[in-house]
Symmetry: D2
């Protein structure tokens, strides 16, 4: 990741702000506020604003439940209780805003989370930066054989090299032709004074999906956790997980108590179906269980056994 001189200066001046406020603040999060944390080869994640902290959740919950919450003596106890019982609205009372730079194909995956506010850089108005994502060799994975949306082994030597060449050449050529069609270079300079350029809203269609875009993305804490639960998961595509992991770290700084409850109940937790419960109950009693009699499919059976680390019961 390299920032333009302008961007670096803007960040620096934002970080020099020293304002007074009666609002709650989170010193740990303030430390990284505005900072561009690198993601992939040219991307970044920046926390650019936030509202509320762990106590805001508690405050809202206590408004809802009134005197009823006096029973739960600590903030931590109350937040855990809310998380465990899927109380959602108190977590909506905190808000966070990120500035993200990311490849377009990842942006397309990301935008499927609809409950967020987004302002994306518009290639109708402006020329996109000359930056595209190229995976590092250890991330050049073959298609998984068993999982249609997963990755298998790393591609080796020559084939990996060839793939990287193709990606690089195609991105560079299409970008260069994008400039030709626009009759303008990435720095804004005109190529041929005697020519008109193609409309930006058309020329952009020639770019490849690994071209970087950027956006402001704002969401509440509940929906941030919904996003992270899916995208920081090991089933998520590596390239979006890189972003989710950075954001998970900002979650930890922002709302440490909520973070802990989230890791325990959501990220580290498991759901067990009604049929699965019957199997577990028998296992606890030391009774015999088998996939056939359980009513579970092979896939489900194996997921359940893996969740409780019963590798010896996996069925191939």
């Amino acid at each position: 990741m390299k920032l333009t001189k302008e961007q670096s200066q803007e960040i620096k001046s934002q970080q020099l702000q020293n304002n007074k406020t009666k609002r709650v603040t989170v010193p740990e999060l303030e430390k990284i506020l505005y900072e561009a944390i690198p993601a992939l080869d040219h991307g970044f994640v920046r926390v650019v604003d936030y509202m509320g902290d762990d106590t805001s959740i508690v405050q809202s919950a206590r408004v809802s439940y009134g005197k009823g919450t006096k029973q739960v003596s600590t903030d931590s106890g109350l937040i855990k209780y809310l998380m465990r019982h899927w109380h959602s609205t108190p977590f909506e009372m905190c808000e966070i805003k990120y500035h993200i730079k990311l490849p377009i194909f990842i942006a397309r995956q990301w935008i499927r989370h609809r409950t967020a506010n987004v302002n994306e850089y518009s290639a109708r108005y402006s020329i996109l930066d000359k930056e595209f994502y190229l995976p590092t060799p250890e991330n050049l994975a073959a298609q998984s054989v068993s999982n249609r949306q997963g990755r298998g082994d790393i591609l080796e030597g020559n084939q990996a090299k060839k793939v990287l060449e193709l990606l690089k050449d195609d991105a560079e050529r299409t970008y260069s032709n994008y400039e030709k069609m626009l009759n303008q270079r990435y720095d804004g300079s005109t190529i041929d004074e005697n020519k008109k350029g193609l409309a930006r809203e058309l020329a952009r269609m020639n770019l490849t999906l690994n071209t970087y875009t950027q956006w402001y993305w704002k969401t509440d804490l509940l929906n941030l956790m919904n996003f992270l639960r899916l995208r920081a998961d090991h089933h998520a595509q590596y390239e979006i997980r890189v972003y989710a992991d950075i954001m998970l770290n900002s979650l930890k700084k922002w709302v440490p108590i909520t973070y802990e409850a989230f890791m325990d109940y959501r990220v580290g937790g498991t759901e067990v179906s009604a049929k699965g419960k019957t199997v577990i109950k028998k296992l606890i009693k030391g009774e015999n269980v088998s996939m056939d009699s359980s009513g579970l499919s092979k896939r489900e059976w194996n997921e359940l056994m893996l969740a409780f680390e019963l590798k010896e019961k996996l069925i191939k």
Copy 2:
């Protein structure tokens, strides 16, 4: 409006906070932060948190439009442009949170605005305060004859007095019976030690709709304006307008440039239909127009004439 000692102390301690932040702050809004501004007889509006200011809108818009926005030289010019052309997403980048105390029948109207986060005091968990809305005499209006959802003249002398008596007596009696059923008084004390009380989730059904409730209500600037456009309008029910007017004032303190654009383009503006435009064009040319040839209904015709202050053309 009277606050409990506890509430007054909480507000005082919130207002004494003096935190440092790198986030943008709005000194004008900070001045009224946490303050309980009275609304109706027992209600209030408190701004309890906010995120962003006018510059946040500009910043997001400039990320979207990139170099494209350099043409618009001032923040004010850009915000006006965004408002005029219904650009919505930059206004979603600011967020505000209110603590509101309001009668239940108004809460029911309010909650129809779905794009907001809400934590309401729960009468399943806790006992509702012994407070109910009673209109002042000048707000005791008769049903409008012409407008099915409007108000007409003020009720006079005896009838007004009678109505107020009925409202007061019924609210007091139902509340007192609510306590009896709960076997608990509003202050939490038990009435008869030898009896159980009815479940709170059931007893609450005996309360009248003018009983006060309270909630935290958080929304983004765009949806706040959508709310205010409808609820600060003179067609809105007086009782919700009281709240909207207070919030409109907080909008002015929070984002003064946006407020001005909002007043010009939304609140003070008018929509003219295709048929209406034809009428206006003729009027400008000094041509004759008539309702019959316009294709407008009588209602529409009159709305149009009123919007442009052509009272002489109103049709009865």
Copy 3:
């Protein structure tokens, strides 16, 4: 529940419709279409429209995953897979519309589910029906001692009788005063020709929260299941559960495969936290476990033990 003559006729004429369509239809659901299924003493649930069926979910999923879904051979297998892995969007492709008559205090609970479309009967425009909810004796429960939002034992003899009297008297008196203030009876007739009535938008505030209202409520299948998961649960308030149970039955008729997966994975399932998993793993291995060493709170511990029917391990 009693329907007005008008309502009965409308339902009858709706049910006599016999239209041809190229859309998918669900004969089982068509059988109960428009029918007013009684709920509580005066309420009802009517399915008044729907879009899609189980095959619509499959169809959408196959568009998403393309040839990737050919591996999953059956519709039922695919729907189970989607449910298990929390794939949400295919379930959003089906839509259903209900007409519901329900007490206001239940409507207030219901409306907290924001991802739905609602048209409620407006008491600003029209006079509310003279109908209010009165619980049957077996639903007159005392406040639970252990659970702040729960119900305990049934109230007995005299106390129950007294509560019912209070509820009935207050509802009748406040309704009667509502009529007086309106200067209009529930049937629309004027009481005193020489008087004006109070504006409807004001008079309604005198009604008690058990007064019935009604609305059209439309949502997609995903959000219907989110609603039912919470409201058909035994923790839900009895009065809303009555509605949820009827709707659960309409779900079964509408999308039987989805219904089965929903019951298995959502309704009958359990979530186990990271710490809870450690406990279960030990139990399966026959190792000793104790609340103290588990890191679980007493409440959490007991919830886990109950979920797997280990009553002997409950801690008082």
Copy 4:
């Protein structure tokens, strides 16, 4: 647009369905149900399901307003009234589902409308079709000089030819390299049996933004109109307008009364700001007006004059 044999057969079999239903149906819309209406060079729009019609809007409004709506005698009058006064919820009571094939750069614009349900073809699971959008010569516009997001004159002769060549060559080359990286051809056949292919979720990043994707897109009538208002407008990018125009036509078949009101009040209508109203009032009175004294910016002034066809008053 060419459909695969499979697709054609699926459409045919869908159209042969002849089901009975008690739901309302719209014969005009049924006529085009499932049909793939061509859009751009390889795209299409298909209406694949719907719920409700004009009478559903009326029905919902009458539930809301109760006896209050009896004053408005006709369905058409009521729908116009609702549209004029921005009543939104009755229009949410109708739902429609489209199957759309469109270029990725248009999909990215489209998806900004968040209040809809979407299932998109996933290039993580499956190989994208070998189809990309190439504009026809008359749509190869130069960048507008005056409007940063607009189009100016058509590119001429050689330059147009060159642009088309670049677009075509780059799309073909990147697609061919996509196949190479996948080690699989678009028809699913393997290229080199001795090699693994790159994971699909990675290979897709090499495609250009004019590659076609497809999705199911479902929304309610209100949000469909919000979409069409923006995207069928002459300011919208031509390529999305093509889709919006087709959908506008389906709107007309589906809910003809609503369509008419929509065209009159939304599409053909104009908003006039508070300052603009002052100008219009003076113009009607025959008074002198000037931009300077109006408080309007030049841009605003010209927009106002154009809206009322006062070309002689435009300021350059």
